[in-house]
Subunit: 201 residues, 2 copies
Amino acid sequence: MDNTTRQQLVATTSRLLEAQGYHGTGLSQIIRESGAPRGSLYYYFPDGKEELAAAAIAEQGARMRDFTAQLLNEVADPVAAVDRVLVGLIEHFSASQYCGGAPLAAVALETAAHNPRLRTACTAAYNDMIDVFTAKLRAGGYPPTRAMRLATVIVAGIEGAVILSRTQQSTAPLALLREEVSILLRCDNTSPQAGNTVAHR
Amino acid sequence: MDNTTRQQLVATTSRLLEAQGYHGTGLSQIIRESGAPRGSLYYYFPDGKEELAAAAIAEQGARMRDFTAQLLNEVADPVAAVDRVLVGLIEHFSASQYCGGAPLAAVALETAAHNPRLRTACTAAYNDMIDVFTAKLRAGGYPPTRAMRLATVIVAGIEGAVILSRTQQSTAPLALLREEVSILLRCDNTSPQAGNTVAHR
C-alpha cells in the first residue's frame, strides 16, 4: 500500500466531516467514496474512524492555516491583509456552493463534550489559525494582548459567519463580517469614546 | 396523549441536537431519554425525526430570542445592553459545563447543504436573534443598515466564540469577544482613521 491511499482516505474524510459532521460520516461511506480498499483503512488507521478523523482535522487545520498565512503575506498592511483573507474566504465559500469555509466547525461542536482526542485536535487547529492572525497583527503594530484578542475574535467571527452564510445560502453574513472587522481593526480604542482605560492601540 | 408528552419529546430533541448534532441523534435515544411512548412520537410528528428536529429548532430559536430580548431590555444603553447579553451567555455556558450556548450551530452546519426544511428552520431562528439585536441598536441610535450589520456580526461572533470555547473547554474566547464587541460598538467609524466614506454612527 502506498501513501496515496492514506492521502485519499484522509482527503475523503476531511470532505465528509465538513459537509455532514462526525456522526453523519460512516466508515463505509469513506471507503466507498475514497475508492480505498477496506483493509487499507485499518492498516493506516488501526484505531479506525476516530484516528482517521483526527488526521483529517489536522490536515484541514494545516490547510486553513496555510491558506490564511499565504493571503496575509500578500499584503503588508495588517488591516488590508485581514481583509484579503476575508475576500479569499468569500470567494472560496461561493465556489463551494455555499457549503465550504468552516471545515472543523461541525466536528468541533459534535465532539467537544465527549471526545477528548478530537476536541484536542480541533483546539490545536484553531490555535494555529489564531496564531497566524496574531503574528500578522503584532508585526503590524498591535500590542500582543490586543493582537491575540482580535485574532481570536476574527476566527470566531469567521466560524459563526460561515454558519449563518450556510443557512442563508448566501455570502451576505461573511460580507457584513468583512466590513465590521475592517472597522474594528481601524478603531482607535484609546480615545475616550472607546470607553477603555487601557491603551491597546 | 397530552401536550406534556409532545413537550418532552421536543425538549429532549433540543438537548440532544445541541450536544451531538442531527446525525448523532437517533429516534431510539430520543424516545428512551424523553420517557415518551414510541407511539406518541409518530402521533405528534408523523414525519418522524425531521419534523421533530424542526420543532426543536423552532423552540430553541424562540428560547435564544427570548433570553436575548430579556437581557437587552434590562439596560437602556445599547452598548451596555449587548454586554449584558454576553455576560449572560458566559454565565450560561459556564453553568452548562462548557457545552451550551449555541444550540443550533451543529444542526445548522450538518443540514444546510442537504435538508431545506431544517435549513429554513435554522435561518428563521438566527434571523429572529439578529432582529432582536438590530431593534435594540436602532432604538439606541445606530442607523438601520449599520444596526443590522452589527447585529449579524454579533450573532456570528457568538456562534463562533462558542465553538472555540467548547473546544477549549473555557470561557476565554467568549470573554475576548465580549471585549471586542464593546470596542466595536463604541467605535466612531465616521472619523478619518476608521477609513469609511459613509457615516454610519
